[in-house]
């Protein structure tokens, strides 16, 4: 009996072992057996079903733009080749950065890589491909929401392209989404002008669809208005794009749209209340730097714009916060903040002439010792060593109570190492005001009548003056700009350039300003005169190369990265000829 039992059990087991796998196959079918779904990701087949899928990918573009790769390039491309910046502490840890600062760039330089930008572009293209399909499926996704999505995606994409053409001149312009490896990847480059025109056209098309204001709610929702693309942001982009296109009327038009919207907003928020009692701001809704009429401290605007962030005068900034799931502003941390060790000194520092500008009374950049932006942006580390304070410190308090000279009253608090949360500002009002001023000055040529010229001059000066005056740290304004000093177009042009340099210092704008100016002038003389101040080792060589008509304006733009030209014949063919190939060294291949 007992053994019979065992026998039966074995038989049963045999049957079970035979049946188990077979039934698994029979019941599920062969193909189902292989249908394994990942647990930590979603496959294409299961994605793109509802509005939140679209939002999640689109919002992911913002966090992608906050990545080290992107912000570091916005800084390096837009600022570090300019006269503002030079080597700091521990720069040798980033060889590619060191080479950029030495103007010793070749295609193997890591900062010529653009993959993050195209990554975001492709995500935007993907959103634009799938959003309409989702809208067809998801009844909760209204047509107006869909067009707002398309507008936001278009704007982010355009912003990325705008960075690319200002840096590389001609780039592949792609508006279709890459999904599959069968799609052609090696596409020819489009010219700077073609891309710029396409960007303008696409933004003009969607500008009406973008939200003017996001619905308010929690405090974090409230900052969407500056942390995400709004209609103002699109207008700001159009304003700058038209300026590069040398279409000054349109530039002024879009600047005005932005300025008026900001004025409107200001009126709403501060109805009947005028802070600007000594008329520093010429009626523009900028934040005052003076802490208050009864105080001897300046630095309010700084802590408002760079400390708290998402200021009223801001238009679009990549916003960081203490949320644990968010990235930190790594590039600011290493480039401006902590380059090596724990002392507050970054891989880059203000160029020495800039650091000592006020100290030794050269005033090459700042007009006089009463420009509070000097104290706010630059920090003296001692022994004529300076480090960048902007974005690193959350507040900079400038005391004017001393009779001799204003000085930094308290160093202000900073973010701790590797925890920088300062927003990276793309557009703010003073930027737009100065862009408008630049356009107005350029328009002066076309205005034959003196009267028109004068009006443009006055308008431009008023804009520059408003930006300048708010940072004059005197309780009684005396040392401000004087209108009659800027009586020619050339002088005004320089004034605008310099005011932009002072106001937007270290914000990733200066090099682009210099390039724009050079392209307009048809030569790089102004640019060369500026950057030769920063004390490059091979300054004459660099100057000659920058000016050289043979390759000009190639030197103003970066070469395509070697890794890209290796895999793309089109890029290799269109490589910027101004640079060494980075691959000039070949080794003998034969055994001898």
């Amino acid at each position: 009996m007992k053994q019979n039992h065992i026998y039966n059990k074995v038989k049963g087991l045999v049957g079970l072992m035979l049946l188990a796998p077979l039934s698994a196959l029979l019941f599920s079918g062969c193909d189902d057996f292989f249908d394994v779904e990942p647990q930590d990701k979603i496959t294409l087949e299961k994605f793109w079903n509802e509005k939140s899928d679209v939002d999640n990918v689109l919002m992911g573009c913002y966090s992608a733009m906050q990545s080290y790769g992107m912000i570091s390039r916005m800084m390096i491309w837009g600022e570090f080749r300019s006269d503002n910046v030079n080597k700091g502490v521990g720069t040798h840890n980033d060889v590619s950065l060191e080479r950029v600062l030495e103007e010793n760039i070749d295609p193997s330089n890591a900062y010529t890589a653009w993959n993050e930008f195209y990554g975001v572009i492709n995500r935007c293209n993907t959103v634009m491909l799938y959003a309409p399909q989702v809208a067809a499926k998801d009844p909760a996704y209204s047509p107006s929401e869909l067009s707002a999505t398309i507008a936001e995606a278009t704007a982010i994409r355009s912003l990325c392209y705008f960075y690319l053409i200002r840096t590389f001149c001609n780039v592949p312009y792609i508006t279709t989404a890459y999904i599959d490896d069968t799609q052609e990847r090696d596409l020819p480059v489009s010219s700077f002008d073609d891309v710029l025109d396409s960007l303008i056209v696409s933004l003009e098309r969607v500008k009406g669809d973008a939200l003017t204001r996001y619905p308010s709610g929690t405090s974090e929702k409230a900052i969407y208005n500056t942390a995400r693309i709004t209609r103002d942001a699109i207008h700001a982009m159009l304003c700058e794009m038209y300026l590069w296109k040398k279409d000054y009327d349109n530039c002024v038009k879009y600047a005005d749209l932005v300025i008026d919207a900001k004025k409107e907003r200001y009126k709403e928020e501060h109805a009947g209340y005028n802070m600007d009692t000594d008329n520093r701001l010429n009626g523009y809704p900028l934040a005052l730097d003076w802490a208050g009429r009864s105080s001897y401290f300046f630095g309010s605007a700084y802590s408002n714009i760079f400390g708290s962030g998402n200021a009223e005068e801001s238009i679009f900034e990549l916003t960081f916060s203490s949320n644990s799931g968010m990235l930190r502003n790594g590039p600011v941390n290493t480039f401006y903040g902590f380059g090596a060790g724990n002392d507050l000194q970054g891989f880059v520092a203000p160029s020495s002439f800039l650091g000592t500008d006020v100290e030794d009374k050269t005033y090459a950049v700042f007009n006089n010792e009463y420009d509070s932006r000097y104290y706010e942006n630059i920090r003296s580390v001692g022994n004529s060593v300076y480090s960048i304070a902007k974005y690193v410190f959350t507040s900079r308090l400038v005391s004017v109570s001393t009779p001799t000279k204003p000085q930094v009253a308290s160093v202000g608090s900073t973010y701790s190492k590797d925890n920088n949360q300062s927003n990276w500002i793309i557009y703010r009002l003073s930027d737009i005001m100065l862009l408008k001023a630049e356009a107005l000055v350029e328009k002066m040529d076309n205005a034959n009548e003196a009267e028109v010229n004068t009006r443009l001059r006055q308008q431009a000066f008023a804009l520059v003056n408003a930006v300048n005056k708010r940072s004059v740290c005197q309780t009684t304004l005396t040392d401000t700009l004087v209108y009659r000093d800027y009586n020619t177009k050339a002088k005004l042009q320089t004034l605008v350039m310099q005011e932009r340099q002072r106001e937007l210092m270290f914000e990733g704008k200066r090099w682009y300003d210099l390039v724009r100016r050079s392209l307009r002038d048809g030569n790089a003389d102004y640019l060369v005169s500026c950057i030769s101040q920063k004390g490059l080792e091979n300054v004459s060589l660099v100057s000659n190369r920058m000016k050289s008509m043979k390759t000009w304006p190639g030197q103003l733009f970066l070469p395509y990265n070697l890794d890209e030209t290796k895999v793309s014949e089109n890029l290799a063919k269109s490589q910027n000829p101004a640079y060494p190939s980075g691959e000039d060294s070949s080794i003998k291949t034969s055994a001898n």
Binding site: V14, Q39, W114, D181, R185, K566, I587
Partner: protein, 1139 residues
């Protein structure tokens, strides 16, 4: 339930009783032999399959009674020593007279040695593919701890590089590299008792983290191994399909054998030590070198005034920097290993068993490494009947490892030798210069020059003792197997056998790390008291069903067999980890204990696959053999259209020896056969979901979390990587197989290579494709091995040997041009840059570099000064060129040399020379300076424009343009050996046995970066004693350049100075064993008692100057030795006792 079943069965019994009322229900009787009644004789009822249904034993008088279940069964009478009788149950009473069984007729037992493992049980002489088997008998009693040690040098074409760290495992390459990406495993597939290990391959970098995992696979105790078979050609591995693409190592473990239980205890005691590397400088020499290397670049005393080097007693840390510490000595020790192993095996007719348990305790030759392992294996076989056998195997290993947190040996090589290990009492103290009990680490206030190196180098002794890095791993694999003979039981009938198996694989691992603040002198917020804890578990489930059909042919000339198999595999793995920092000092080591959590991670993965195999074997007269295998693999790695890969193979064997016209040779030739084979196998990528676009979470933006991003492009074009291989083997056996020789030649082509992270233009939104099928690669090679079986036998003495060698040539035939470009390096004119250059239709691993020609005796300035102010020179020569020519050829007046105390000889200086050796002069008649990487200003190219100085390394100016640049780089040799292999001898004399094994490699070169680093003199790292012969002053004749801190020199460009021959001959082991005679043991109740002593890797003969010439090769780049931990030397004492 039980009751119900009982009722049903009872009912059935009753029913059957009712149906046949007349049937016999019980029997009785007596059993006796010619001496009278037998007590204790066994009587049993057996059914048609031989299964015992009922049984009884005779009593004192030889009587028995027994119930009978089924009268159709038979009754069997048996007694030890007597002939068993089996009768039909046709009566109720049996009186049996049993006859003696000791009178036997002559019996001849013929059996064929058959192939074991997963394939068909083919007789050995009909195997038609390339395999090599080693029986563990050969290693019995050898001091092996791992399988790879046993295999090293034994298998032709299998290259094993053993790692030096505890549990680090080895890298194995069978017949060269089968893949050039890290996406597929290059190590052979390990099969234990027919089962493969199913690990999680997603997110698994095979090239980097692999070896340790691989070691786990080989974690079979050598004492348990019955045999190891290496399957080499594609036809042999075909039954493993895509799993066996890099070759297969099949391990068969021992099983229980009938007989009374045997208890075996094995003890191994091993001591091991680290081979000494380069002789490094002591503290005094080091400080002198460093002072020079700081003085030289700027020629300034201020630059070399470094307080740590000054031996100034007023310096507060004086006592910490006035020592001669041998760091290498401090971190190495005699490592001790003890391995205990107990086996019990035995069994009877019904069941056999083998149970074993082992305990290992090992400390390594590097301090702070410890391993404890407990392993057990149970193999049970139960014969339910003649037709059915149930086997169960269970095996578990628990490994507890304590590892280093830093690479101690690497630190020991770099650490400044004048620094002390322990903080010492300062000047003025009563105990001045004595060690305190605190470890010393350079303070943050240490000199600025040490900022990036010595100041951040951890004290290795402190790291070994204070930091914690441990892992606990559990590895279990239970298995249940049923064998069922469905038809005939022997060769005279058709046989159809079913084998069903269920196999599970469970692997759990826990890792804990803690890095205390005491090791680093940094601020608290730099991440002190960091900690990590992680765990992972992986479970896989395999069912396998095999049907084997062996037909019976009346004509015995034909023999055939066929097999069909279905294998189904599912598995999943999960893991989670946490990182923390800023933990409170003192005992708290877990990241969740109040510190700052810096990272949390988790992973989940799941996989399924389905394999179907059909295999057939046919032999005519055992002379002409044909094998055919078709395997279909289905996997979740590919998308719906591409899931199945079909891999056929055909192999033939012609036993020429069996041809009638070969009869004449049978006296001395016992085997002569040729074996051609062809097969196609495939390989799938290790990553999942490449066939679709996956969206995965990305960082949040403000309050919006759960944001997604696409991970890559959908790879619609992805397909299987396929290998088509041909193999031709020749087997020869001489003198009744006393000497066997096998020759194999192979040619395999890999097409549609799976290239990982294939670079694409990033304007597509992605920089790489996860996988790209691109390129074609070829492996061509041949192998040769000889084995003997009691080759020489004279009385008590016998001798055997094994010899093997092999050669493999690996080359790329086709590859995307851009991919090729990105594999090849661009010359950047920096020291230590190893150039990789792959050319189509050329072997991998070519080494390129400059040709070194020693060191410049004198500087250019020296010549200049002599020409301008030396009267002797002015008197003798009219032109500068004449003087320099004479200087270079050694023809200056004798007086010139005498003044300086030099011997008259040709000398070198950094001046450009033409092809004839004449000095090149410029328009002013001045010799042109020798330059490094000179480019014209404004040419837009990046050069170095360095002027060589006295004491700099001389590189041959191949094109005589006075400029050392990329055009002077030449081919310096190949990393691929011309021949690799091994040989061994064993001698037996009575109960004594001596065995030896050697491995060797011939004809390869190695770039010795480790030596480069210890002779560079451009950093603060400690250097080799060779640098004491460095160039110091004008006229010095030496091969070692001057000391120069920093990057202002080009003395360590890759040149033939650092390219060395890698030939070696290593003794893998030598062992002497002795087994006591059985008769000497019986009085203490032992069956066996044997002892042995062995030395593992006691020496290596080589001209290579590095620590160990066994450097990995086979990648597409040159073989480089950057100072990996070499395998240690060890001595073992062992004992085996059997009760």
């Amino acid at each position: 339930m039980k009751q119900l079943r009982f009722i049903i069965i009872t009912m059935l019994c009753l029913l059957s009783l009712g149906a046949q009322a007349q049937q016999i229900t019980s029997v009785h009787g007596t059993v006796s032999d010619d001496m009278g009644p037998l007590m204790g004789a066994t009587v049993c009822e057996i059914d048609a399959t031989g299964r015992i249904i009922e049984s009884a034993v005779t009593d004192l008088n030889g009587n028995f009674t027994m119930k009978v279940k089924n009268p159709k069964d038979k009754i069997r009478f048996s007694y030890v020593g007597l002939k068993t009788q089996t009768l039909a149950i046709n009566k109720t009473s049996f009186n049996i007279m049993m006859a003696s069984a000791t009178m036997l007729k002559e019996v001849t037992v013929k059996s064929k040695k058959r192939m074991q493992g997963n394939a068909l049980p083919i007789p050995e002489r009909e195997i038609s593919f390339a395999t090599q088997t080693i029986s563990m008998k050969e290693f019995e009693g050898l001091g092996m701890t791992t399988v790879d040690e046993a295999l090293q040098g034994r298998i032709a074409g299998l290259d094993i590089v053993t790692g030096g760290d505890l549990g680090a495992g080895s890298t194995m390459r069978l017949r060269g590299t089968s893949s050039i990406s890290g996406l597929t495993d290059g190590n052979p597939l390990i099969v234990v008792d027919g089962n493969t290990w199913n690990v999680d391959t997603e997110n698994f970098d095979f090239n980097a983290a692999n070896n340790e995992k691989f070691a786990e696979l080989l974690n079979v105790n050598p004492e348990d191994i019955a045999s190891i078979t290496v399957l080499k050609d594609a036809a042999a591995t075909a039954i493993y399909g895509s799993q066996g693409g890099s070759g297969v190592i099949e391990i068969t473990t021992k099983r229980g054998a009938r007989g009374k239980p045997r208890l075996t205890y094995t003890l191994k005691l091993t001591g091991r030590y680290q081979p000494k590397g380069y002789d490094l400088l002591n503290g005094d020499d080091y400080t002198m070198l460093l002072k020079e290397s700081y003085f030289n670049p700027e020629q300034s005393d201020a630059a070399s005034n470094i307080k740590e080097l000054n031996y100034d007693p007023t310096f507060s840390e004086y006592e910490q920097y006035n020592n001669n510490t041998d760091w290498y000595d401090a971190v190495t020790q005699w490592g001790l290993m003890q391995n205990h192993y107990i086996t019990v095996s035995g069994g009877g007719e019904k069941a056999t068993f083998r149970i074993s348990g082992g305990y290992d305790h090992e400390t390594n030759s590097v301090i702070g490494q410890k391993l404890q392992r407990f392993s057990t294996r149970v193999n049970l076989d139960y014969n339910v009947s003649q037709r059915i056998r149930v086997s169960t195997n269970f095996n578990m290993t628990y490994t507890k490892k304590k590892m280093n947190s830093d690479n101690l040996l690497a630190l020991a090589l770099k650490k400044m030798p004048n620094m002390s290990i322990y903080e010492q009492y300062p000047v003025g103290s009563a105990l001045q210069g004595e060690d305190t009990d605190a470890y010393y680490t350079m303070l943050q206030s240490g000199s600025e020059v040490f900022k990036d190196d010595q100041r951040v180098y951890i004290n290795p002794v402190a790291s070994a003792n204070l930091a914690q890095n441990k892992s606990d791993a559990y590895n279990m694999s239970p298995e249940l197997v049923i064998n069922y003979h469905l038809l005939g039981m022997d060769e005279d009938h058709w046989q159809l056998n079913w084998r069903g198996a269920v196999y599970m694989n469970i692997f759990n691992e826990y890792v804990d790390r803690f890095y205390p603040a005491a090791l680093k002198t940094v601020n608290w917020n730099e991440g002190i008291n960091t900690s990590y804890s992680g765990s992972s578990k992986s479970v896989s489930f395999t069912t396998k069903h095999t049907l084997t059909l062996i037909p019976h042919f009346v004509n015995k000339d034909h023999s055939a067999m066929a097999m069909g198999r279905l294998e189904l595999n599912t598995g999943s793995s999960t893991g989670q980890s946490a990182d923390g920092k800023g933990l409170p000092s003192g005992g708290i080591v877990s990241p969740d204990a109040g510190g700052i959590i810096t990272g949390l991670g988790s992973s989940y993965n799941q996989w399924r696959s389905l394999y179907m195999t059909f295999s057939a074997h046919y032999a005519y007269k055992s002379r002409y053999v044909l094998d055919f295998t078709l395997r279909a693999d289905g996997t979740t790695k590919f998308g719906p259209g591409n899931r199945w890969g079909y891999f056929p193979s055909v192999s033939l064997r012609w036993n020429i020896i069996d041809e009638p016209w070969m009869k004449w040779s049978h006296k001395w030739l016992s085997m002569f056969s040729i074996r051609p084979s062809w097969a196609r196998v495939g390989k799938d990528p290790s990553r999942d979901f490449l066939y679709t676009v996956t969206y995965s979470p990305t960082s949040s933006y403000l309050d919006m979390s759960g944001l997604m991003k696409p991970d890559g492009l959908r790879l619609s074009n992805m397909k299987w990587q396929t290998t088509t291989g041909y193999n031709l083997g020749i087997d020869l056996g001489f003198f009744d197989d006393r000497l066997r020789l096998t020759l194999e030649g192979y040619h395999s082509t890999v097409t549609d290579l799976l290239l990982q992270n294939f670079r694409v233009p990033s304007s597509s939104g992605f920089t790489t494709l996860g996988v790209m099928n691109n390129g074609k690669m070829r492996n061509v090679g041949w192998e040769f091995h000889i084995e003997t079986n009691r080759m020489i036998k004279a009385g008590k003495f016998s001798m055997d040997m094994n010899v093997n060698f092999g050669n493999n040539r690996n080359e790329i035939l086709e590859l995307d041009e851009n991919q090729l470009k990105s594999y090849n390096t661009t010359v950047n004119y920096e020291n230590r840059q190893v150039l990789t250059r792959i050319q189509l239709n050329n072997p991998f691993g070519a080494i390129y570099g400059y040709r070194s020609q020693g060191v410049y005796n004198c500087s250019y300035d020296f010549l200049e000064t002599q020409w301008e102010s030396n009267q002797l020179v002015k008197n003798n020569y009219t032109t500068y060129k004449q003087f320099v020519d004479a200087f270079l050829t050694g023809n200056l007046p004798q007086e010139f040399y005498d003044v300086r105390g030099w011997t008259k000889r040709p000398m070198t200086a950094p001046v450009a020379r033409n092809a004839d050796g004449g000095v090149i002069v410029d328009d002013e008649g001045k010799p042109k300076k020798m330059m490094f990487a000179y480019v014209n200003a404004g040419s837009g190219q990046t050069g170095r424009n360095y002027e060589f100085k006295g004491g700099d390394a001389i590189y041959e100016d191949v094109n005589h343009d006075g400029n050392i640049n990329a055009l002077d780089i030449v081919y310096l040799g190949s990393s691929l050996p011309k021949l690799t292999g091994g040989f061994g001898f064993s001698f037996t004399y009575g109960d004594w046995r001596l065995s030896t094994q050697f491995t060797y490699r011939l004809g390869n070169k190695i770039v010795n970066l480790a030596r480069l680093d210890t002779e560079a003199m451009s950093t603060n790292n400690n250097q080799a004693q060779a640098v004491n012969y460095r160039w110091r002053k004008e006229g010095d004749e030496t091969s070692i350049p001057r000391a120069l801190y920093g990057n202002g020199q080009y003395n360590t460009l890759i040149s033939d100075r650092f390219v060395e021959k890698g030939d070696f001959l290593r003794m893998s082991y030598i062992q002497l064993s002795y087994a006591l005679k059985k008769k000497q043991l019986t009085w203490i109740g032992l069956n066996r008692l044997s002892f042995y002593v062995s030395a593992n890797k006691p020496f290596v003969l080589t001209k290579y100057s590095g620590v160990d010439p066994e450097v990995n090769y086979g990648g597409y780049g040159p073989a480089t030795d950057s100072g990996q931990t070499p395998p240690s030397r060890s001595y073992t004492l062992g004992m085996t006792v059997e009760f």
